[in-house]
């Protein structure tokens, strides 16, 4: 690890002031991703600002029936919180399907949004990676890209965003609240992450001095059922090959509400708007589900290593919606 200066921020204002004053500084929360990246020399901050002492650890009910989640709420606490397990069970499922219990005890909500890709070439200092070293090339193209993205990727970068939690948040219309010296900003979660284009090293719309303070969720769609389905290479403790967060409500045999987001297939938590458009008001049938999945995946581009993800995503979307249809009918 490179030497760095360690600061501990007692409150939000100090944290924000400190990072404005220190170009290249990084906030540290649970450290589960940052410490690893520091050790690998991928992150090289001169100053690390510890924000775990900030009072951002609450989960509160909002007047509109939604909830507000402090950026420093630990993943495990969030997954087990009654407001979440009862109103947003899909969010619990997504969190619990990620990482391990130990990591979830450390990792924070805000940090989860900003975790970086698991691309093998991003992680290897000897490899070319436009994300790690802009302009150096992409060894994943023509290399091992089985884990890589099929939606929203570019010729400069195929990397995926590894979060499970974010996929559920994308489907739940989450909003991210940030603070900087310039004030408070609210960003829809689906707009937080950038697509790589020719600048894959720029991963979010956040400014360098912006601190995520909270996530807000609107009330869950009433009468809908939801589910997070993760497909991976082990039964547990592995990143998603494909994941699906789905919310579904069927009225009189037709889809009246649908929210669909995908993980493991894109550089960001991928809200499947095309699929949602195809499904809304359509008959709730396997055929509609398939058509919707295909509507989303027509834009997909694959490399030899990850072509299976298009088919896998199609099947996982259909299976998840099918399960929700059965669950909704049973309820």
């Amino acid at each position: 690890m490179r030497p760095f200066t360690y600061l501990r921020a007692p409150d939000v204002a100090t944290a924000v002031r400190a990072i404005s004053a220190e170009p290249g500084a990084k906030f540290i929360g649970g450290g589960t991703n940052l410490v690893d990246l520091l050790r690998e020399d991928i992150e090289q901050p001169g100053t690390v600002i510890d924000i775990t002492g900030l009072p951002l650890t609450g989960v509160e009910e909002l007047p509109d029936g939604g909830i507000r989640i402090g950026a420093l709420v630990r993943n495990s606490h969030l997954a087990a919180h009654r407001l979440v397990t009862t109103r947003y069970p899909m969010l619990s499922q997504a969190i619990l399907s990620g990482a391990s219990p130990q990591l979830r005890n450390m990792a924070t909500t805000g940090g989860n949004l900003l975790q970086r890709t698991r691309c093998l070439y991003f992680y290897d200092g000897a490899a070319a990676c436009n994300k790690r070293e802009p302009g150096s090339g992409c060894d994943a193209i023509g290399g091992f890209n089985r884990q890589h993205g099929v939606l929203g990727v570019s010729d400069d970068c195929l990397a995926t965003h590894p979060s499970d939690m974010c996929v559920a948040l994308a489907a739940l219309d989450a909003t991210v609240e940030t603070r900087s010296e310039h004030g408070v900003r609210r960003i829809p979660l689906v707009d937080l992450h950038r697509l790589p284009g020719t600048t894959p090293h720029r991963e979010t719309v956040l400014a360098a001095d912006e601190l995520i303070t909270a996530i807000e969720l609107p009330p869950p769609p009433s009468g809908a059922v939801s589910r997070y389905r993760k497909v991976r290479d082990r039964a547990s403790y592995a990143f998603a090959l494909v994941s699906v967060a789905a919310v579904l409500k069927v009225r009189d045999g037709s889809v009246s509400t649908v929210r669909l987001a995908l993980g493991g297939v894109a550089p960001k938590p991928w809200r499947a708007y095309a699929a949602e458009r195809a499904l809304l008001a359509a008959p709730a049938t396997e055929e509609s589900f398939t058509r919707a999945a295909e509507a989303e995946l027509t834009a997909a581009t694959a490399r030899p290593g990850n072509a299976f993800k298009i088919e896998l995503a199609r099947r996982t979307i259909v299976a998840t919606l099918r399960d929700l249809l059965a669950e909704g009918s049973a309820a």
Binding site: F4, T5, D36, R39, S76, A79, Q102, N105, S236
Partner: protein, 167 residues
């Protein structure tokens, strides 16, 4: 260098550390508490699991300086029926993952008592979830055992969980 006070197994230890020293290295290299193991230094194996205020964490990804003032429990501070159960059920072979498995299991039992769900719980809001083999296995999946003593580990945990419930 930062001077920190680490509270480990009930004893406060004063240390001068660079801020980039992990909690794991502080325990192993500075405090000679070598019962906590380093398997990957990357949060991918669980051998370094310790308890921080009773919650299990991967000490390899924890900067020691961030844990000043927290109550850290390592295997050296554990005296629990789980340890004998691990031996009885042969929930170990080489022993290198064992400290982490035991610390992890201790916290896992507490999480379950507190009603925390797991990825196999189905409905995360369900209460009184039985600690089945599948539940234990999922909740212990952050601890790799390359010797493959998984069956024995799960049996040991299940036995202790049943003893605790009966009590």
């Amino acid at each position: 260098m930062v001077e920190i006070h680490l509270r480990v197994n009930g004893v406060t230890r004063s240390l001068d550390l660079e801020p980039w020293v992990s909690l794991l290295d502080a325990l192993r290299e500075r405090l000679d508490l070598t019962g906590t193991k380093k398997g990957c230094d990357q949060g991918a194996c669980g051998a370094c699991t310790v308890l921080a205020d009773g919650e299990r964490i991967n000490s390899c990804l924890a900067l020691a300086v961030q844990y000043a003032g927290r109550e850290i429990t390592t295997i050296e501070g554990v005296a629990h029926p789980l340890q004998a159960a691990f031996v009885r059920h042969d929930g170990l072979q080489c022993g290198y993952c064992t400290s982490g498995q035991i610390c992890s299991a201790l916290a896992m039992l507490a999480e379950h008592r507190a009603g925390a769900p797991s990825a196999v719980t189905g409905d995360p809001a369900a209460t009184g979830v039985e600690l089945s083999r599948a539940e234990i296995a999922e909740r212990m999946s952050g601890n790799l055992c390359r010797c493959g003593a998984y069956n024995g580990i799960v049996s040991a945990i299940q036995e202790v969980a049943e003893m605790e419930t009966a009590r």
